[in-house]
Amino acid sequence: MEQDKTFSLTKVYQAPVETVWKAITEREQLREWYFDFPEDFKLEVGSTFDWYGGEPGGKQWLHRGKMVEIVENKKLVHTWEYPGYTGLSTVTWELKALDENTTQLIFTQEFTIPYDTSEEALRKENFIAGWNYIINTGLVEHLDKYQK
């Protein structure tokens, strides 16, 4: 996995790993803090699900995910794409029990195929273009060194 194609965040929650697992995999809980997934949202490798997301007040984009890997209380991997446009990324939620009431989450988004920037609507929002930036990132960090 190349470092520059990956975005990662680590969080620690005061909750048992089983509780966090349910919060990130059960539709009824997901809608409370994440996205409102469709009724056919299933925790099954190979199943797909659609949802809408975007900047508040801005256009809401159709998203599609496909379950890739499910290891109960440990790991959830699904794809992330925009139907009708090329491009693909993979989102990974990894859980680790630090003790019986503390759970570490490592969230990773890996950008596999660049998103389509030929679409004017997408370019205008700098939306997909931004994803591509993450795929190709490294430059800003690199340039920062010389600007200081």
Binding site: L9, W33, Y34, E55, G130, N132, N136, V140, H142, L143
Partner: protein, 105 residues
Amino acid sequence: MRRDVFQAIADPTRRSILGLLAIQTLTLNAVAENYGISRPAISKHIKLLTECGLVEIKQEGRERYCTAKLEKLREVNHWITQYKQFWETKLDALGTYLTKIQKKK
């Protein structure tokens, strides 16, 4: 065709050129010497970079000097900040949610 900063940095050669010019102003020939591709190909990249406002060219005598204009990259920084913010907000929301349901027990 509309040009934007994201297009400019979508190509590895252009990112590398910007990296070179970020350190120093160079002539077009000096830039070309750093790459194993033709001068016209390099000129094309530089042209796109100037159209995106990331590079400025000054003609001095027979030489053309290229200088990086890095202010434009702030747009990119702005985007990445928003992206990070999006995920920070979501993951914090998960934390708030977990606290809430644990209190209920």
